[in-house]
């Protein structure tokens, strides 16, 4: 096409656009304007009339029909000026330039008119006297809005500078961000919590167990003279194995931990032995494995070519298993996006997302990331039966799995015209390049690992040891020989020996020879067994005949016939085996049954994980620190921890959240470093007491003028009933425990089975997590909780153990009351409380007193 015709085309299209589309105020400009002023711009000023003349109702077809007013014209001219001087001509810059100008020459600046509900382009409309009174207030509000930190959760994270502060209250950067906002509202932070409450709070928060009497006493003594002893407590608790258990449960909520479920033996959801994943979580947290590593391994440990116990990480994927594949994939897309990215991509299954910028294809692109994978169970040393124990893990069963978009999300109607490639939401940026991964031989053939071979041999040896006859023992000996020959062949295959090679053929023939011997010996033994059985059956028949009992004779005769039939079959088999021995050797030996995985993995999950934990990913670190904040303060900085999109909550402290998110990455994704930062901040250490003045300004404590009052979670209530009575079994890890034993078991609650219809009622009553999802816990107060705490076996056993402990038996009543307050409530008894308790002991025993204290508000409450 030559230059001239190009111009013609341009003119033609320009004309076409003008004719076909009625001209309206530029909608992009309009929405920018509305966004720029927020709520400060009244509805009347949000229409076309702000910049144009006319009624704004008719459908003008050109600028001539729809001319600018003085303000609009001014903006247009300013745009041209800015372009000419090579500056940014965005509508915001134009507005900024013209804020103090008076476009309509009515004596009031444009900004004044915009803020005071008057028209900047119409000199007949001026601000009313009443509104002029509000001028300073509105300008201040406008300035505050313009200078406020802008929350852009879908833009990459940049660590904001820490504002300068002279506040002496500040202990670390968290406090700076908090105090800034408090100061703006004339609020002041509460003083620090008293040492006993502070200690109990930090213990329950970091390890889920309350301090013992001696820990309380040594801390309060030390703290009085050395305030840094608190930091040492934090450090110590972060190294306590209970940290992984306490925070493991936190992440298990978010990552939807569930033991397997299904009717009777049928597996419907999750996987048997998924507890291996739970143990991996606990261990990884205790080792402070980076959050980036944790996510990567959960999504793609197999593609990282990790082996053995490290594959437990992919329990995250195994948990999502569902008998319905579409449901399985849906859960993964839905919850991976909510848990890790804080976006509700699941909403884009049937249509483009209704409030966030995710087209429907984003849903299917993420599904395509997971499409190739399936779940299998790997053997663990010492256990050949994977039904009894094994590691559920993910693998790719096909590198070419296809994903189709379902029309309106209906799986019955896949759009097969187009394969949806794996991908990540474009709006979130970053790069996603899946590369096919070739698995090592051992990873593709896990049953060829040394321990599996040893276990197989050992299981035959064990049978051999139990053999009743020499012949039977020989059977197993020959089996072992044949198996070992096969292992040898496998080993050389693993090193690249080709089936076409002479060496391979030689080895294969050797295996076949040994298998023939093994089969033959085995057949001979089987025949011998059958002969003996027949003999016994014949004798039984004789005995029956001599008794003359017709029914017994018929039964015995039938049995004899059965054994005869078996004998005939085995004779034939034995003869066949003998005959086979004489046939010429071939390479067609029979391979043992073993689990194998395709030698290639699609690399889609690994690519996704890399994208997810890349420092440019806008959401991962923000969502992570918000989850941590949520458990420490009872509310996330973004309250909707699983939704950072448009329908999610507005953050109370966006700047702080961004700072923390960047800090998490600066600290190599170490979660312990974030815990340390949070727990040693002055903000965290504040008292939770109310202050009337602050409350009237900020009743929900959105700005953190005090610490929030918390309540023990159900698991923590149960664990502490065991712990404070000295009965908690602190062993770590292992198979899930029958939930019906919850009242009797002394293990920590995290080890109790947690699955659909297999929940621990005591925990559920205290708002335990749902199996399907639990992004944040509720804190209800219900009479059911009262009944559970006063009537349950757990409480009764705890109360009994506390008051019957040898160290307390000889105490007098007064000392007993003091001790039991410290033990149960972690604080000293007040004189008045002591009096009531001593009065109570006049008519009741110590057991009932202890039971009452377990029900005291201060037991379940974390102040």
């Amino acid at each position: 096409m030559n230059y001239r015709s190009l111009i013609v085309v341009r003119i033609f299209f320009g004309w076409l656009l003008l004719t076909l589309q009625p001209i309206g105020a530029n909608p992009v400009h309009r929405s920018t304007l509305v966004k720029h002023f927020g709520d400060l711009l009244i509805t009347d000023l949000r229409g076309c009339n702000l910049c144009h003349l006319g009624d704004g109702q008719s459908q003008p077809s050109s600028l001539e029909e729809f001319p600018h007013n003085a303000f609009g014209d001014h903006l247009r001219r300013m745009g041209e000026e800015l372009v000419d001087s090579g500056r940014d001509d965005s509508i915001v810059s134009r507005l900024t330039e013209l804020a103090d100008a008076d476009s309509d020459q009515d004596g009031y600046s444009n900004l004044t008119e915009l803020l005071l509900e008057s028209h900047p382009g119409d000199d007949e409309v001026i601000p009313t006297d009443a509104l002029l009174q509000l001028r300073d207030e509105r300008v201040t509000a406008y300035d505050a809005m313009r200078s406020a930190y802008v929350w852009r959760p879908f833009d990459p994270i940049e660590q904001p500078a820490i504002p300068e502060t002279e506040s002496r209250w500040v202990r670390n950067p968290i406090d700076v961000f908090i105090t800034e906002k408090l100061r703006a509202r004339d609020l002041s932070p509460q003083s620090e919590a008293d040492p006993q409450r502070l200690l109990r709070r930090i213990y329950l928060d970091l390890v889920g167990l309350q301090p013992t009497i001696s820990e309380i006493q040594s801390f309060t003594d030390e703290y009085a003279s050395d305030p840094s002893s608190y930091e040492r407590v934090v450090d110590r608790l972060l190294e306590h194995p209970g940290y992984g258990e306490r925070w493991g449960r936190h992440w298990m909520d978010i990552w939807r931990y569930s033991d397997w479920s299904g009717y009777k033996d049928a597996l419907r959801e999750s996987q048997r032995h998924i507890w291996h994943w739970r143990d991996w979580i606990v261990e990884s947290l205790n080792e402070d494995l980076g959050y980036d590593q944790i996510l990567t391994r959960m999504l793609a440990a197999d593609e990282l070519q990790l082996t053995g116990k490290d594959l437990r990480a992919t329990g995250y994927l195994a948990r999502n298993f569902h008998t319905n594949r579409n449901q399985w994939m849906d859960n993964l897309v839905k919850h991976t996006s909510q848990a890790f990215m804080g976006v509700t991509l699941g909403c884009a299954k049937c249509h483009d997302h209704m409030s966030d910028p995710f087209p429907q294809t984003d849903y299917y692109a993420l599904r395509a990331v997971f499409e190739p994978h399936a779940i299998s169970t790997d053997r663990i040393p010492g256990q050949l039966d994977i039904k009894a124990n094994g590691i559920p893990r993910a693998y790719d069963r096909s590198v070419t799995a296809k994903t189709y978009l379902f029309e309106r999300g209906d799986e019955r109607f896949p759009d097969k015209d187009e394969i949806i490639p794996p991908g990540v939401p474009a709006i979130l940026g970053g790069s996603f390049y899946p590369e096919t991964i070739s698995l090592t031989h051992s990873n593709a053939n896990p049953d060829q690992r040394d321990f599996v071979r040893m276990d197989l041999i050992e299981s035959l040896r064990s049978k051999q040891r139990q053999a009743k006859t020499d012949l039977e023992a020989e059977v197993h000996e020959r089996q072992i020989e044949a198996l070992q020959a096969e292992f040898e062949l496998e080993a050389e295959e693993a090193n690249g020996l080709a089936e076409t090679s002479e060496r391979w053929q030689e080895l294969a023939k050797g295996v076949l020879a040994l298998q023939r011997v093994s089969t033959s010996v085995s057949a001979t033994w089987q025949l011998q067994v059958a002969e003996e059985s027949l003999k016994a059956a014949e004798e039984a028949l004789k005995e029956a005949e001599s008794s003359g009992d017709a029914s017994a004779i018929s039964k015995a005769s039938k049995q004899r016939d059965t054994h005869q039939k078996t004998l005939d079959e085995r004779t034939a088999k034995q003869q066949a085996a003998e005959a086979a021995m004489n046939e010429p050797l071939t390479t067609k030996f029979s391979r043992r049954e073993q689990t194998t995985y395709p030698s290639q993995s699609s690399g889609r999950r690994l690519a996704f994980a890399k994208w997810l934990v890349s420092p440019t990913n806008p959401l991962t670190a923000r969502v992570a620190v918000n989850h941590l904040w949520n458990r420490h303060f009872g509310r996330g900085i973004v309250a909707s921890t699983n939704d950072f999109g448009n329908t999610g909550s507005t953050p109370t402290h966006p700047e702080l959240l961004d700072w923390l998110a960047a800090e998490l990455m600066n600290q190599r994704w170490s979660m312990k470093s974030i815990h340390r930062l949070i727990c040693t901040s002055a903000t965290y250490r504040m008292s939770s007491s109310l202050n009337h003045e602050s409350r009237s300004v900020d009743p929900d404590n959105q700005l953190y003028w005090r610490q929030n009052i918390g309540r023990m979670e159900g698991e923590i209530v149960r664990d502490n009933l065991l712990y404070l009575s000295g009965r908690l079994d602190q062993s770590v890890g292992g198979a899930d425990i029958d939930p019906n034993l919850a009242q009797k078991s002394r293990r920590r609650s995290i080890y109790l089975r947690h699955a659909h219809e297999k929940l621990v009622e005591f925990i559920q009553i205290f708002d335990g997590p749902a199996v399907t999802e639990c992004y944040a816990r509720e804190n209800s107060i219900q009479p059911h909780q009262a009944l559970a705490l006063i009537n349950s076996q757990l409480s009764v056993d705890a109360a009994r153990a506390v008051c019957e402990a040898p160290k307390r038996v000889d105490l007098n009543d007064g000392d007993f009351v003091e001790q039991v307050f410290l033990t149960v409530l972690g604080r000293n008894v007040t004189p008045e409380e002591k009096k009531h308790c001593l009065d109570f002991l006049e008519t009741s025993d110590r057991f009932n007193l202890t039971l009452v204290l377990l029900n005291h508000n201060d037991f379940v409450t974390i102040r």
Binding site: G648, C837, N857
Partner: protein, 500 residues
């Protein structure tokens, strides 16, 4: 003005406290109150509580069908849908009024965030209607039981709401959009405003599994800033296991010892309340223990249906497998109303996610099955309340978060998928009321010819709340807490036209 409202609230609150101190705080006192009830000497609601005016009703039984009942196949017949079945809105004379974009956006909060296609292809009514009773109220044939109760029913056909997705379940109970978070539910305002008429049972009880996590979950019976004390208490209707941990694990724990334990606990928590006078959680926990103590006997009694005759059980559909479960809940609701429980909230149709009533496909099969589960129980409840002389003072309300679209949910014209269901519809739907001083055989409000927009006597969900509160003696305008801003739309207006 604001101050006097607050004073009034405070005075009613303190009056209630005085009463409890006087008659109820000691456990023996509580037991006495319950005896008074059993002897039928029920004190009037006015004397017991902080009502703003003389109440007409004592209790509300609030039935919520999770997922969205089709108003078009229940209480709001539209012959035009049969007449124009298979045609699109554009082929009817009503297109302009129905599809007016401004009208479509009028109700929705943040319409730009609530994209939802309008399905224009009209789906005929999936069930026939009958004019019933003396009033001739038209009710669909999927509700044969309710058809017989027509003269006791009032249909609010002009309801609308602000969310076109299932977050509207929460909206139905609080008036707020789910993205705004938790707000006090209508039941929690009742609890807050009136307190209990029976110290043995919670004033606000919930039966059935509430909305799923997507749609409000526990917030649909929560109390938000009123404090957890006023949240709905969930109970089971299973007579074998009405309440977990109802018995002490201590063998032979005497009731005297139990009482002494609760007494000491009350004293100790009372001392804590002096240290933390503003801790609403602590107050709620104290109350939860008082209740727990009483519920150890009151709840097993309540769920013991052996005291009911076979005729009564049959009336509630308890002897029919489909309706057994919901029938039990309705019967339990009547028994609770008898005992003075203020607000009894029944959920039907929990299915995780959106809820069972959400019929995007196969509406006919879906709704007809679900109607069998609830029709007889609800009709039986109304009949039973009536025969016991309780209907005048017990208000039954049946509704769901929104209605369903007149158009069939289709994909595109080329598709071989026939739309067999209806989409979410916030622009007009029906709520059914009965008793509690509401007129029977009454229709109030209307949707347009296609059942699309509520056009006459339009009411937002909080008008229903205001009406319920009004009948119980509470003025929605006077319910407020310092520091908590209530919007006009939260408060609602009483629907006086339907009151006796």
């Amino acid at each position: 003005m604001r101050a006097s409202k607050t004073n009034r609230r405070n005075s009613s609150e303190s009056a209630r406290r005085d009463f409890i101190k006087h008659a109820g705080m000691s456990l023996s006192g509580l037991a006495l109150t319950s005896l008074l009830y059993r002897d039928g000497q029920l004190l009037s609601a006015n004397e017991l509580s902080g009502a703003h005016h003389r109440p007409k009703a004592k209790s509300v039984i609030w039935i919520f069908l999770i997922g969205g009942l089709s108003h078009l196949e229940s209480f709001d017949p539209k012959p035009a849908l049969n007449e124009y079945a298979g045609k699109t809105f554009d082929e009817t004379p009503f297109a302009e009024q129905v599809l007016d974009q401004e009208k479509l956006n009028e109700n929705l909060l943040d319409p730009s965030k609530q994209k939802r296609e309008v399905y224009k292809k009209i789906m005929p009514l999936q069930v026939d209607y009958q004019a019933c009773g003396n009033s001739g109220l038209e009710i669909s044939n999927w509700f044969p039981g309710l058809q017989k109760q027509a003269d006791n029913l009032c249909l609010l056909r002009g309801m609308w709401t602000i969310d076109n997705n299932h977050g509207a379940q929460l909206t139905y109970h609080t008036g707020r959009k789910i993205t705004e978070g938790a707000f006090p539910t209508v039941g929690s305002w009742v609890s807050y405003g009136l307190g209990s008429a029976n110290q043995n049972l919670p004033e606000y009880v919930v039966l059935g599994n509430p909305s799923a996590d997507c749609c409000g979950a526990a917030w649909t019976h929560g109390a938000s800033y009123l404090g957890p004390k006023h949240a709905g208490v969930r109970l089971n209707v299973d007579p074998d296991q009405p309440l977990s941990f109802v018995q002490s694990a201590v063998k032979d724990q005497s009731s005297e010892q139990q009482a002494r334990n609760f007494n000491l606990l009350n004293k100790l928590n009372g001392l804590a309340a002096q240290e933390f006078p503003d801790d609403s959680d602590l107050k709620a926990r104290i109350r939860s223990y008082e209740l727990a103590f009483e519920m150890q006997t009151s709840v097993p009694d309540l769920m013991d249906f052996d005291q009911e005759t076979a005729a009564t059980r049959s009336l509630y559909g308890i002897d029919t497998p489909e309706s057994q479960d919901f029938g039990r809940k309705c019967l339990a609701a009547r028994r609770m109303a008898e005992q003075g429980v203020r607000f009894i909230q029944l959920f039907h149709g929990y299915r995780g996610n959106a809820g069972a009533w959400d019929s995007h496909r196969d509406l006919k099969k879906n709704h007809s099955t679900l109607c069998k589960q609830v029709d007889q129980p609800i009709a039986g409840l109304i009949a039973d309340l009536k025969q016991r002389g309780m209907l005048d003072e017990t208000m039954v309300v049946v509704g769901s978060e929104f209605g369903r679209t007149p158009g069939a949910e289709f994909r595109d014209d080329n598709s071989n998928v026939k739309g067999s269901g209806r989409d979410h519809h916030p622009h007009g739907f029906t709520v059914m009321c009965s008793g509690g001083g509401v007129q029977g055989g009454k229709i109030h409000g209307a949707t347009d010819e296609l059942g699309f927009h509520a056009v006459e006597n339009r009411h937002y969900v909080t008008d229903l709340h205001a009406t319920v509160l009004h009948q119980l003696g509470l003025d929605s305008h006077l319910l407020e807490l310092p520091g908590r801003k209530r919007l006009e739309s939260d408060i609602g207006e009483v629907i006086h036209d339907v009151l006796v």
